[in-house]
Symmetry: C2
Subunit: 297 residues, 2 copies
């Protein structure tokens, strides 16, 4: 039975039962640069009630530090330590889980956020936001595509400056079967400007098709690596924690796999109709996060 | 039993048994702008022997007329009518198979070849090679992405100028479930400069991931539509025809499905080892097309 949150008593019960609240951001707190109605007030209400809040985003274009500035700009009082992004999770995976050597470089198909998180853990990257790779394709340019022997890993995520040259470069690198192929996250879309835009999965599937390989790991939600990262930093009882998000196949799956309660909000990707069609069901759903504030108010 | 062509008698037998020869081009006749050894001489030999030659390419970046110029530049004497490209096949499919209305536009994720073939059959297209869409992504630009109500079909193929803006545009168009989604061809890679580059499939899988839809038809090899196109123009007995190509999953599958003999050459995508791993087996294989000329000489 999936309960829709429509009454004050339900909100009180949610608050009583959960000390730790994990939040997805895009489509839950905001759309692009636009705050969602009463999302800020709901977060402030939870903070006032002494809840531990953790923000878990598959957005890899920004580092945690840059992401914190976005929170601040929209009025949220959130610390860098409480933000987990897929770029950070990917860097931690390389460093702690597979002990990827620091003298090997990472070829990034993605943006600044990935480069920053890799650099913070002592890794050098190539491509990424380097303007040298933001070139329109030409025969001359394509003749320069070759494998960089210092690179041992291709890490792909959302790249809004994706082009043919970068795809060819990543493909050349992955021709070497020893080269690792990792993805920050697999979301096919993300919400912005009131509609859906191509997500990291779009870029990753382009690289995967060209290289005829699939990433050996995807480090964002719903991966266990992201959850392990969070659990390693904060001790919390999953039974008294809840994951709030707008996507069934990432946020809700992530919460469930981690043993948390789950709350779907309908301000992002998935609709109420999508719940019926999905294998992954949330415990609760609400029209928007702001309903929690409005119902209590 | 798959016979490797290594003796003059085998070549004579191939010539005796086949009147109609279908050829893939990239990886068989040339690599990019480089002629493969004795490929030209082999084609001339077949022409002298009175064979009917048909060139079947999944390359959608050039129209048949432009492709003919490529043949001429490399020394081949070939007529436009003997060239079949996936862009042409796609235009014929819209016109003859599904009677796509001429007052509806086609949104092209691809290059000039597709636009030219559509235009030749009376269709208007948008995006494609239009410089307006060759823009680097920005927040301002993404706010302009919207569905064009005059468009009823997205046709995707290789686009070496692919970018995020175009992907977002195609995605917006495909949000409408009534909008058709077609692919020129699904090759994941193509050979050039002595290595593999991202093929049409790379672009198509990016669009497919962003739109969470798959093309309803792919009009290049190995699709039956391409074969139907060829058979409608030339009457030939498939039992006395042979398909020559460098790919098992497109060329060889295409020949087999059409009831033709098949000859794989190892100058392109697939290797001898790949034959063993593949469900699709050719009847014959040769190190290169030029072996036919060399063995007879």
């Amino acid at each position: 039975m999936i309960a829709k949150i429509t009454a004050k008593s339900q909100v009180e019960q949610l608050l009583d039962q959960h000390d730790t609240w994990l939040f997805d951001c895009d489509g839950v707190l905001w759309h692009g640069s636009e705050l969602l109605p009463h999302a800020l007030e709901t977060i402030e209400l939870l903070q006032k009630r002494g809840k531990k809040l953790i923000f878990v985003t598959n957005n890899s274009t920004k580092s945690r530090a840059t992401y914190r500035l976005k929170f601040a700009k929209l009025g949220f009082d959130v610390s860098v330590d409480d933000i987990f992004c897929s770029a950070y999770s990917a860097a931690v995976y390389l460093d702690k889980v597979i002990n990827y050597p620091k003298d090997k470089k990472v070829l990034v198909v993605g943006e600044q956020g990935i480069e920053d998180e890799l650099s913070a853990l002592g890794y050098s990257s190539v491509m990424g936001s380097d303007p040298k790779f933001r070139q329109d394709y030409s025969e001359e340019l394509s003749a320069t595509v070759r494998r960089d022997l210092e690179v041992g890993c291709v890490l792909a995520g959302l790249d809004t400056h994706i082009n043919y040259y970068k795809l060819a470069y990543a493909q050349a690198q992955l021709e070497d079967p020893e080269t690792l192929f990792l993805a920050t996250n697999i979301d096919s879309t993300y919400p912005s400007h009131g509609r859906l835009f191509p997500g990291a999965g779009t870029v990753i599937q382009a690289v995967a098709t060209a290289s005829r390989r699939q990433p050996s790991a995807s480090l964002g939600k719903p991966s266990d690596t992201m959850m392990d990262c969070i659990k390693a930093r904060f001790e919390f009882d999953p039974k008294r924690a809840i994951m709030v998000g707008d996507r069934l196949n990432t946020d809700m799956a992530f919460g469930r796999r981690g043993g948390l309660s789950t709350l779907l909000v309908l301000t992002g990707v998935d609709t109420e109709a999508a719940i019926a069609d999905s294998d992954v069901k949330p415990d609760f759903f609400a029209s928007k996060l702001g309903d929690l504030y409005e119902l209590l108010d």
